[in-house]
Amino acid sequence: MPDALTPGMSAAALVRGYRSGALSPVEVADHALELARAVQPRLNAFITFLDEDARTAARASEQRYRREQPLGPFDGVPVAMKDLVHMAGVRTTAASKVLADYIATEDAEVVRRLRAGGAVILGKTNLHEFAYGPTGVLSSFGSCRNPRDVGRMAGGSSSGSAAAVAAGVCPVAVGSDTGGSIRIPAALCGVVGLKPTYGRVSTSGVLPLSWSLDHVGPITATVEDAGLALAAMSDFTWPSPGPLDRPLRVGVCRDHFFEHLDAAVRECVERGIRLLGEPREVRMPSIRLSAAAQSLILASEARAFHQRWLAERGDDYEPGVRNRLEAALEVRGVDYVQAARLRRVMVDEMRAALEGVDVLAMPAVPVPAPPLSATDVAVEDGSINVLSALLQNTSPVNFTGFPAISVPCGETDSGLPVGLQLVARPWQEAHLLAASWRLEQLLGASRMNGIPGRRGQ
């Protein structure tokens, strides 16, 4: 490892090192590829490694720095790409036998943007098959495991992206989020996961799960990196993070979001909210219905996309994913429309809840990372189905399309990370990032999320 490179270094720190000449994009890429392969037997975070492509991109980046003409603040940053996103000439498997041999012919728009900014893409990461599940367990390439405890779920569906960042392989990974697939694995692995406003990052060239709920966004080691990555992936402009000039007004909706929690999660989240600013109770009367309505829309749209493959190659799906797609036929046209009506109500309610506050705050996931084989998880008031638990607090924000982020806010006694979810008004990712950065500073979160020995409390 180069002397100036420290484990889990952030993208911002890497770029500062490139600019000063203390670090080389080629050495950093080599080290990242080496580490990715070293942790692969333990984590199974990657499906495809792109050594040659990465080294070519790193050499080009190094030349630009030597000429003092980097492409911008993301030049030379190692990135891992969820294997749901097309890269020209590279297979896109979606972690499924159905697409095991599919080679993409074009780059997705998000890949095009990242390449234009000088990103060094290391490989394609593991996921819950076709992104249809929040555990990361069901993959035709084997389950991805949590770097904090390999006997536990990394969370999904962007399991490999979060695991790669949490293991310190790279500071940035790309994920997609239809019901929580960026924020859930970020929370369970102890890193930052940002779901931007619906439409902020192009989904062109990304295999859909549900067109009206899909979002693309970054999973990163730090909040600053999330801002840098979002700017590289979209038209977002990111001012450098800095201190806020007043206490934050934090909206807290106790209904739904604070139910069925693990006790340690509740404790960490309540402390995080108190640190962040002044809590104000808010209400969203239809919130209990939003997760159910979101799942009906998701089921219908996913079934429509998979209709032909299910008929022709049904046996190539993981049974758990196929079952969900088969069951989706239970949702009738009228149900879809009723759910879409409720969606309008929910958008209005979430917008109203944000009147007079800066952000909404709640646990990103009600429980810490469950064991790989768990079907139910223990919470304060009994036990609940693991899928319902993981999706409880994230899926309502896919329903409305508002931006949301999961930021590490502490750990359980056994060292499992807890994520605080913040939600802002549409297009106000800058507010989310500023609030998250404040929390990160107050909690003293290091840039070494996921590295053994870190305690973000």
């Binding site: 406003t197 009206s212 038209d235 977002f236 079952n323 009723q338 009506r341 969606r343 297009w427």
Partner: protein
């Protein structure tokens, strides 16, 4: 979960939504049109970016 368990779960969710829509309709007596395109209510980033 098995396919039959998943079907039962969807049926529960379906009923929950239908019942709620009926309640909202009766209490508020208002027209609620389906929201089929989020862009309709979120606007575009050009008009609100970093606001």
């Amino acid at each position: 979960m098995t396919e039959s368990e998943l079907k039962a779960d969807l049926e529960l969710r379906r009923r929950l939504i239908l019942d709620a829509i009926e309640r909202v309709w009766q209490v508020d007596l208002r027209e609620i049109r389906p929201l089929l395109h989020l862009e309709e209510v979120l606007g575009r980033p050009d008009s609100a970016r970093n606001a």
